[in-house]
Structures are given as structure tokens and as C-alpha cells.
């Protein structure tokens, strides 16, 4: 490394700090809400199943926690030949 390179070297601590802040914001929301998401998923499946036959594996519930608002994303795949139980 040239002497010039040494003095202009980019420091690494700010990167460590930034990476941690992004990672932990994500991990805190997913770990803390895993129980809630599982519970919501069960109850949503139960409600849908009352009316439409669905494959449990085709129900996706995802929670994203943002700074201002959190979003709950529910994605349910209903097959074409699903028998509708109630009109």
C-alpha cells in the first residue's frame, strides 16, 4: 500500500455500524413478531376454510415492520376447482 493510500484509506467502522443498524432493524421485527404472525396465520386459515377449501401450504402471511407503519401481507392461493361452501 502506498503512503498516499494509507492516508486516504476509508475507515471500516462506519460500515460496521450501518450494516448492523439495517440488519438489526430487520431481525428485531421478525423475531419479536414470529408468534403473532403464526397466530394470525392460523386464524386466517380457519376463517377462509369456513367458506372455501384451501391448501394450508398456499397461505402466506408476512409482516413487515417499517418506521411509521407496519404492513401485513396475506397471500392465499385458491384453486380453480375449490368447492365454495357458502355463497
Amino acid at each position: 500500500m502506498s503512503i498516499f493510500g494509507f492516508f486516504n484509506r476509508k475507515t471500516s467502522a462506519p460500515q460496521a455500524r450501518e450494516r448492523l443498524q439495517i440488519l438489526l432493524a430487520h431481525e428485531r421485527s421478525s423475531v419479536g413478531h414470529s408468534d403473532l404472525v403464526a397466530l394470525l396465520r392460523e386464524e386466517i386459515v380457519a376463517v377462509i376454510a369456513k367458506h372455501v377449501q384451501v391448501d394450508r401450504d398456499k397461505v402466506n402471511v408476512k409482516m413487515d415492520r417499517g418506521d411509521q407503519v407496519s404492513t401485513l401481507e396475506v397471500d392465499i392461493e385458491i384453486p380453480l376447482d375449490a368447492s365454495v361452501r357458502a355463497a
Binding site: 494509507f6 492516508f7 484509506r9 475507515t11 471500516s12 467502522a13 462506519p14 460496521a16 455500524r17 450494516r19 448492523l20 443498524q21 440488519l23 438489526l24 431481525e27 428485531r28 423475531v31 419479536g32
Partner: protein, 271 residues
């Protein structure tokens, strides 16, 4: 009133055992009856760091299983009569560490000690959750390094969810102990600074322990850092941390921050 402290971190090798021994000895030096308890069943090391490895007869698992009474398993320190060690088992399986057994031992220790310091194993498995289970205070040992900070964040989450206090709707008092800190490298921008770690983990700071040869030297001779050389930088930092645990107001200083003329020039230049 007895206080139960858990020394925990998630990540291994950050200084839990060193910190347990150093804080335990520092609290005992105040004349308060202190016991350090090793929860690392199968990989015990607190006995070695305390210099009591050849005096272990009975251990925590023996007490839990009723093979020995608690006073038989407690080892009194040869240097400080207020300091005691309850070793972990080296040979038994960690499944022998039961939730009920730990609860009984903790209740009994609370009757005769002022400070009960639990040295947690690394990880987030049963040994670690049982070590924190009955804690009133948690000392989260963290190195200024990304993986250690991430694991500490995870442990802080567990302290708020999996402890007896959390289940009763109370709070475990959490403190950050930043270990292996190198002020010069932090100043150069190549190590997370104290404020960076504090901002990310957002728990109050208990102390800053500088990276130092004295820590290895103390473990080599089987002595808590605070007993090996009372004037060394890590020893002074641990003693201040112990005073803060005991409720004293001690101003926080970054050990070894004072630099000479040349240190200042080169430190600034590279920043």
C-alpha cells in the same frame, strides 16, 4: 436483599467468564458476600480462571441431583473470604440442569449471599436461558465487533421475554459491558466506538474494559483480573463497573484514552 446477576453475551469468547470472575472479586472486596456460579455444564472454566480447579469436589449438578448439599459444593476463595464459587459439572450431561433444580439452588443462594453472579454459557440454548432465568440484573458483555453486537441484541430480546421477571411483568435491569475495547483503533475509525454500540443496543453502559495483556496474564495465574493487579487498566475499569452495579455514581472514562504527544499526532493523522 440478595441480587442475582447474569453475565451473558450470546457469542462465545467475548469475556463472560473473565468478567464474572473480575466483577465477583470486586464486589467481594467491598465486604459483600458474593458467589460466582458457573452454568457452562460440560465446558466449565470459571474454576480455572478463579484458580480453584484443583479444589472442585462437588458441583452444581451434584447439588441439583441431591448427591451433595449446597455448602459442600461451594468453594471459598483463598484470597477473599467473602468470595465463593459454585462450579459447573465437567463430566455430566447438560440435560441434568433442570429448571426446578436451578430454581431451588437460586432460592437457597439468595438466603446467604448478597450477590449471586451467574456465568452464562455461550449460545441461546437451555444453559443460557437457565442462567438468565432468575436474574434481577443482566450484564451483557459485548466486543466492539459486528457479530458480538448482533448476538447481544438477540440476548437482550431473550432477557425481555424468557426470564422469570419478564413473565411476572417486571423488568430485568440490563447493562452493557464493552470489553476488549481499543480506543486508538476506534479513534482511527477501524473499530465501533462506544457511542455506536450504545446507540445500536440502547441499554445503559456499565463499563468499558480496554483490550489488555493484563487480562491474559491474570487468567494464566488463575486470578480474577481485579485481584491479580489492582492498578492495571482493566482492573480499574472492572472495579468501577462493580461500584456502578452496587449503585454508586462513578463517572465513565475510556481507559487508556490519554495519549502522549506522538500518540496524539499519529492518532489524529490516520483518523
Amino acid at each position: 436483599m440478595a441480587k442475582v446477576i447474569v453475565v451473558t453475551s450470546g457469542k462465545g469468547g467475548v469475556g463472560k467468564t473473565t468478567s464474572t470472575a473480575a466483577l465477583g472479586a470486586a464486589l467481594a472486596q467491598r465486604g459483600e458476600k458474593t458467589v460466582v456460579v458457573d452454568f457452562d455444564v460440560g465446558l466449565r472454566n470459571l474454576d480455572l480462571v478463579m484458580g480453584a480447579e484443583r479444589r472442585v469436589v462437588y458441583d452444581l449438578i451434584n447439588v441439583i441431583q441431591g448427591d451433595a448439599k449446597l455448602p459442600q459444593a461451594l468453594i471459598r476463595d483463598k484470597r477473599l473470604e467473602t468470595l465463593h464459587l459454585l462450579p459447573a459439572s465437567q463430566t455430566r450431561d447438560k440435560d441434568n440442569l433442570t429448571s426446578e433444580g436451578v430454581e431451588t439452588v437460586m432460592a437457597e443462594l439468595r438466603k446467604s449471599f448478597d450477590w449471586i453472579i451467574c456465568d452464562s454459557p455461550a449460545g441461546i440454548e437451555r444453559g443460557a436461558t437457565l442462567a438468565m432465568r432468575h436474574a434481577d440484573i443482566a450484564v451483557v458483555v459485548t466486543n466492539p465487533e459486528v457479530s458480538s453486537v448482533r448476538d447481544s441484541d438477540r440476548i437482550i430480546g431473550l432477557l425481555d421475554a424468557k426470564t422469570a421477571r419478564a413473565e411476572r411483568g417486571e423488568r430485568v435491569e440490563k447493562h452493557l459491558l464493552l470489553t476488549r475495547y481499543d480506543p486508538a483503533r476506534a479513534e482511527r475509525g477501524d473499530m465501533l466506538k462506544v457511542d455506536d454500540v450504545l446507540e445500536i443496543l440502547s441499554i445503559p453502559l456499565l463499563g468499558i474494559i480496554p483490550e489488555s495483556m493484563d487480562v491474559l496474564r491474570a487468567s494464566n495465574i488463575g486470578s480474577p483480573v481485579t485481584l491479580a493487579d489492582t492498578r492495571s487498566a482493566p482492573s480499574l475499569a472492572y472495579m468501577d463497573a462493580a461500584k456502578r452495579l452496587a449503585g454508586e455514581q462513578i463517572p465513565m472514562s475510556v481507559p487508556g484514552e490519554k495519549r502522549g504527544f506522538f500518540g496524539k499526532i499519529f492518532g489524529r493523522r490516520a483518523a
